[in-house]
Subunit: 365 residues, 2 copies
DNA sequence: TTGAAAGCGCTAACAG
DNA sequence: CTGTTAGCGCTTTCAA
């Protein structure tokens, strides 16, 4: 290859600096290398010269021999979800603060897409964050063998994870509802492949059992507003006075659909969401929700990832647990007295509670 | 360098394939090269062998000699803004459909950050999309000289741009308000460095002049909910019966602050936003807004960018203009009869309209 | 069409 | 601490 068009752009190269400073190229390289950043006089001069010339080591040329690209990938199950915004933001902040760039990839709620996109992206990054992954555990473990990996919002043995305290958050929500006098709670589930959905449902059951409440599961459904609308229809068939939704979007969709059919929130039904998305406090009624520290999650995910990249042992056993808290707003209120079953539950006899078989949770991921 | 640890990961290389197929490395390379994808029998065999071995050309190794990375950068003024979501999504779709990856960078509403982040990112991408850039024209032109560039939501001579039809959208909004009987409109401005803010304000003035309405400018302010709250205070000092906000967030903040002070929307004030963000239809009252085709913008931005990357002439002169439309919802209503000035405007005499000097627009970017 | 060889810009042994 | 020398894995001339 005699004449290499203009391969990597036309900035000054390490050789230009070397010539201008009267040293060997490797010396220049060293003057910029990792630890200590050589303090000799020559090194100083080289750096001055480099600065004058406007020299910057080309990231790709650097990546070729080292394999390090100073990029991390953030793979997210659904960019569209407002949930993603803050995670992305947090991740970006952490990346930039460490001199890294962020490669963003959307899995479109599909484990397959996720695989594909990862295949494309993996060789070009130093590590990857899998946010709310829809892939099976095995696939994730495979990834972990190839690149430093952090999993967000899910736990997998031997893979460093970051999760929020779903059990505690759910517990708070249930206690809140119980304190308001609610006895029967429906859970509007999310996607089947969602780990969060699994643990939320299990936590709900656990909390309900302890507090002596009845629970019922609706779904699975899409983690969106329209998913919430679907859940509403189902709820109307087996009414309860309170609903906890897989996430805020579902909760909002639920409230809208309920309201549209003349069922008032919170008068007739109390609704609780998860995540504390931006819109949660904008809707009417403002949504009571279990807030996840979304921004912090993205932030610590990338920070921890970079720690691993730099050689830290992924103390894989204990997943990092970030706190979640209940934000009480207007979508929950006291159960109306003098009635066991909700006032609007006319189309269904309320005699016995939902058949207990509905308590069975099919898969738990 | 005798032993290069495991430089670019440990997949099979082109040499492995070459050996397995009994040909030279260059032949393998050719079997995968761009046009025609050589149809010889050898080439076929090579591809079979490669598939069996699970060979994939390493993107970085490929980038070294060619300079092409199959990545594009999307630089966004503020990831946090829900506005960004759909743009990012559209951009991602277009990138993936072309086999590209998306490097996401947040400028945090600062021209400086934008520069910095661009410096980091430029050498590693084949092109960049600047969404709602806060940099001065000159800086952008400099970028354009180094990499294929598309600018979103802004026009710059000799740089390919994509914008929405702000004038038309604003015109529709004003007509709508006029039809409802409003005579005086306030504009709650956005950031000074925003090109969109400039054109929106100018379009508003133009439309108002034609329709014989009075307009007044509040701001500049932050393009956020709290920015809207600030604008509300100012509005209360010089009340008008209608407000058009720089964007939906400002509009929402405005509505909230107004409501909090007992000024009802739309009864006392009609409010119009821009963008048609997700939350616009979630708030109460649902927001009347000038909808921008956010997703389409991100999509066509990246598509056009890739066309340029592939060698298409950037027909830079005519900016691509995407349509915008008025979405009428609940935040606008008829001016209440029998009063020239809004009912709640007690603290201010309404005799003469705002002093005309307030009509002056300082800078228009 | 094919193979040989040079080189993208940088890093990492290895002697001196 | 510095210079020398091999490459990272791929592409692209050039001659056969």
């Amino acid at each position: 290859m005699t004449d290499q068009s203009d391969a990597l752009g036309r900035g000054p190269t390490i050789y230009d600096v070397a010539r201008a400073a009267g040293v060997a190229a490797s010396t220049v390289s060293r003057a910029f290398s990792r630890p200590g950043r050589v303090r000799s006089e020559t090194a100083e001069r080289i750096r001055r010269v480099a600065a004058e010339l406007g020299y910057h080591a080309h990231p790709i040329a650097r990546a070729a021999p080292t394999g390090r690209t100073s990029m991390v990938a953030l793979v997210i199950s659904d960019i569209t979800n407002p949930f993603s915004n803050q995670i992305i933001h947090g991740a970006h902040v952490a990346a930039v603060e460490a001199g890294y760039s962020l490669l963003l990839a959307d899995a479109q709620e599909s484990g397959l897409r996720e695989r594909e996109v990862l295949e494309r992206v993996m060789p070009t990054v130093d590590g990857v964050v899998l946010a709310t992954s829809r892939m099976p555990d095995a696939a994730i473990r495979t990834i972990a063998k190839q690149r430093p990996l952090i999993v967000l919002n899910r736990t997998i043995a031997d893979v460093p994870c970051i999760v929020t305290d779903n059990p505690r958050g759910m517990r708070r929500a249930v206690e809140h509802l119980a304190a308001l006098g609610h006895q029967r709670i429906s859970y509007a589930a999310g996607p089947e492949a969602s780990w969060a959905d699994g643990i939320r449902w299990r936590s709900l059951r656990a909390a309900a059992t302890e507090l002596g409440l009845h629970v019922r599961r609706i779904g699975p459904g899409e983690p969106t507003i329209s998913g919430g609308a679907v859940a509403a229809t189902e709820l109307l068939r087996h009414p309860t006075s309170a609903v906890i939704a897989y996430n805020d979007l579902v909760a909002i969709g639920l409230m809208q659909a309920l309201t549209a059919r003349g069922v008032a929130v919170p008068r007739d039904v109390s609704v609780v969401g998860f995540d504390n998305v931006y819109a949660a406090e904008l809707v009417t009624p403002a949504l009571t929700t279990v807030a996840a520290p979304l921004h912090a999650m993205g932030l610590t995910a990338v920070r921890n990832l970079l720690a691993v990249v730099r050689g830290a042992k992924p103390h894989a056993l204990e997943p990092v647990m970030l706190p979640s808290r209940l934000v009480v707003r207007a979508s929950t209120s006291h159960l109306r007295r003098n009635r066991t079953s909700p006032a609007w539950a006319t189309r269904r006899v309320s005699g016995s509670s939902a058949k207990s078989s509905s308590l069975t949770v099919s898969g738990s991921r």
